[in-house]
């Protein structure tokens, strides 16, 4: 089965709000692509970035499209391929590079690396490595939001593989019983490391799991920014209305290896070919041109601007100092 077949394409016809989403979304997706390319294909290979590097190449529409639908009070629990939402929330690429390089300028001041970053003031929760551990935590965040009388939701992100974990089940189930305002966002990129979805689960779609919790679940074209954004709006409307969680399964594809050291030879070539035609960035650009929202010249300018921004950010990060070893013991407890 090809996941692409399942997807209903976004109907098209851009209202002005959508045009705005398209413009902003294109910028953030391009920025995410450029930052991650720089990390995975340059800095990592230069040995300037150590440890594991996981990027969201091809999946940019998911984190960007959903977070553009979020209010600042909404709390985001990104997974490891969701860098876009940090930019949407105002984190600078400079701080992200510093994070990856283990510098004090990073969001964890060198304590942790890569996508393990968060900022409570920005309502972003830092993941831990264990897949799906953020799901019960997202449920608790939503419990607090309701407790505090906020009209806000939690967005909890994870991959297809993460849905196999017990924590995923416990977190979704508890949220469903409590009818909590959580939007569960699955990026189904067909693989968990080297493991294809059919070795991960017995059902065809992650969305098939919604009924097991009595919650609505929807399959979304995860490579269409506007489709993701619209689905996120439906999802938050549901969650905000007190009707409980909502599950969005964004079908997409990991257009790279699992991590920077993985050549992904296990992925059949035709899957690559099929999905590279669906790359969310050119796809959005085509649509914008089609709809007369922008010209190729503007896109070229945008990409140049993004590259310059990224150059500057890398320079800033490289100038950020390493943490002082004398701080090693600080902040284990208050």
């Amino acid at each position: 089965m090809s996941a692409a077949e399942l997807i209903t394409p976004h109907p098209g016809g851009l209202a002005s709000e959508q045009a705005e989403v398209a413009h902003r979304g294109l910028y953030y997706m391009s920025l995410m692509r450029e930052v991650e390319d720089r990390i995975e294909r340059k800095l990592y290979r230069q040995g300037k970035i150590l440890g594991g590097v996981y990027v969201g190449r091809g999946q940019e529409a998911i984190s960007v499209g959903t977070s553009l639908a979020a209010t600042p009070e909404d709390v985001l629990l990104p997974s490891h391929r969701d860098m876009g939402l940090f930019f949407v929330r105002g984190v600078t690429p400079a701080r992200v590079f510093a994070q990856y390089m283990g510098r004090v300028g990073g969001l964890t001041r060198g304590r942790d690396g890569n996508m393990h970053m968060g900022d409570l003031k920005l309502n972003i929760i830092s993941i831990i490595s264990a897949m799906a551990a953020c799901v019960p935590v997202g449920t608790g965040v939503a419990m607090a939001l309701r407790y505090q009388g906020k009209n806000a939701v939690a967005f909890c992100f994870f991959g297809d593989g993460a849905t196999s974990r017990g924590d995923w089940h416990e977190g979704v189930n508890f949220a469903a019983v409590q009818k909590l305002p959580v939007v569960f966002v699955c990026n189904n990129n067909q693989y968990a490391y080297s493991t294809p979805v059919e070795k991960q689960m017995g059902c065809a779609n992650v969305a098939d799991r919604g009924p097991a919790y009595g919650i609505p679940a929807e399959i979304v074209d995860g490579n269409d920014l506007l489709a993701v954004h619209e689905a996120a709006q439906r999802a938050t409307a549901h969650a905000r209305s007190g009707r409980g969680p909502y599950l969005m399964e964004c079908k997409s594809f990991r257009m790279t290896g699992h991590s920077a050291h993985d050549a992904a030879d296990y992925v059949p070539k035709d899957l690559w070919d099929q999905w590279s035609k669906l790359d969310p960035i050119p796809r959005l650009e085509s649509k914008m041109i089609e709809q007369g929202l922008a010209t190729q010249g503007e896109f070229d300018e945008l990409h140049a601007r993004v590259r310059a921004e990224v150059d500057e950010a890398v320079a800033w990060a490289e100038n950020s100092p390493y943490p002082d070893p004398s701080t090693l013991l600080d902040d284990v407890y208050e």
């Binding site: 709390v75 608790g140 939690a154 924590d167």
Partner: protein, 323 residues
């Protein structure tokens, strides 16, 4: 009127919930039923469903949801129905809760209550003492009160603390011990041991239910002229190493006592602390009295042989006194 250990915990929870609207309870059967040990009986009626949350059988979700709520500024108190089930929420505790502050400066002000300990014929899965899994995990605080006063004072401090606190309450003490408690609000600080008996000849360092075993042994040894000092650790992490060293410096002989099994138990950590810091003061080997390295057996004669008791303490104390 004297207050039992279980009632003391209940009062502490109740008063903290009255004091701070951010405190809430999460756990299995804690609402309508009032909890397996009735610690939260009446809480649902008083504080409502929002603040007394009955959960599915999902220890990982209980802890995880507490972490999420804690990160958002609430102060959840999670209940494990038995401490034996804490292993079902283990990753959330040791990897999520324990490391947030260190990694990204995010406080996780949660308390995980866990009824632990043996002597109630609970068998291998309703009797365990899992404290060392957490004592050895940086970022967690671990508390194990022995008295009603400390139970109340420590549960309050744990709730007010801005770090994740594991609160091990000993089931065997719930209704067995009681004392008069002062009226009004009081707390017992985390991280401070308490000298519960002064003595000259020999120190017993212990915690939890074993404090009472130590006291019994000390009383029975008094007529023999053996004068025992007893230190109740109260908090296991962070450990009050100063108090540990102080009593050892004073008596020069140390018995370490815990209900937990031996290998990897706290006694080892205490021994290392002592040999590192007060080596020159010691007049004899440091001895351990602990449960042996087996699961907790069910049948009464086996469980009796398994648990430390005053008899076993007395025997070793005599030996060490003579040393």
């Amino acid at each position: 009127m004297p207050t039992t250990y279980v009632e003391a915990i209940r009062e502490g929870l109740w008063e903290e919930m009255e004091r701070d609207p951010n405190v809430l309870l999460i756990g299995e059967d804690i609402g309508v039923y009032g909890g397996a040990f009735k610690v939260t009986a009446g809480f649902l009626e008083k504080f409502g469903e929002k603040r007394v949350v009955d959960t599915p059988i999902s220890e990982s979700a209980i802890v995880g949801a507490s972490i999420g709520a804690g990160l958002m500024g609430l102060r959840p108190v999670a209940e494990m129905q038995f401490s034996d089930f804490i292993s079902c929420g283990f990753d959330q505790i040791v990897n999520f809760a324990a490391k947030c502050r260190y990694r990204w400066n995010a406080p996780v002000p949660i308390v995980i209550r866990a009824p632990s300990g043996g002597g109630i014929h609970g068998g291998p899965f309703h009797s365990q003492n899992p404290e060392m899994w957490f004592v050895r995990t940086p970022g967690l605080k671990v508390v194990a009160p022995a008295t009603a006063y400390d139970a109340k004072g420590l549960i309050k401090s744990a709730i007010r603390d801005n770090d994740p606190v594991l609160f091990f309450e000993h089931k065997g003490l719930y209704r067995r011990i009681k004392e008069d408690l002062p009226a009004g609000d009081f707390t017992v600080p985390l991280g401070k041991a308490k000298l519960v008996r002064k003595g000259r000849h020999l120190s017993i360092i212990t915690y939890g239910a074993m404090v009472w075993v130590a006291l019994e042994a000390a009383e029975r040894l008094e007529p023999e002229g053996i004068d025992i000092e007893i230190l109740d650790l109260r908090t296991l992490a962070p450990l009050d190493r100063d108090a540990v060293c102080e009593t050892a410096r004073k008596t020069s002989k140390v018995l370490l006592l815990h209900e937990d099994t031996q290998t990897g138990g706290l006694a080892g950590e205490l021994t290392a602390t002592l040999t590192e810091r007060v080596w020159e003061y010691l007049d004899g080997p440091i001895l351990r009295i602990t449960a042996p390295d087996t699961p907790v057996p069910f049948s009464p004669p086996l469980e009796e042989a398994f648990l430390p008791n005053a008899e076993k303490v007395i025997e070793k104390a005599r030996w060490l006194h003579r040393y």
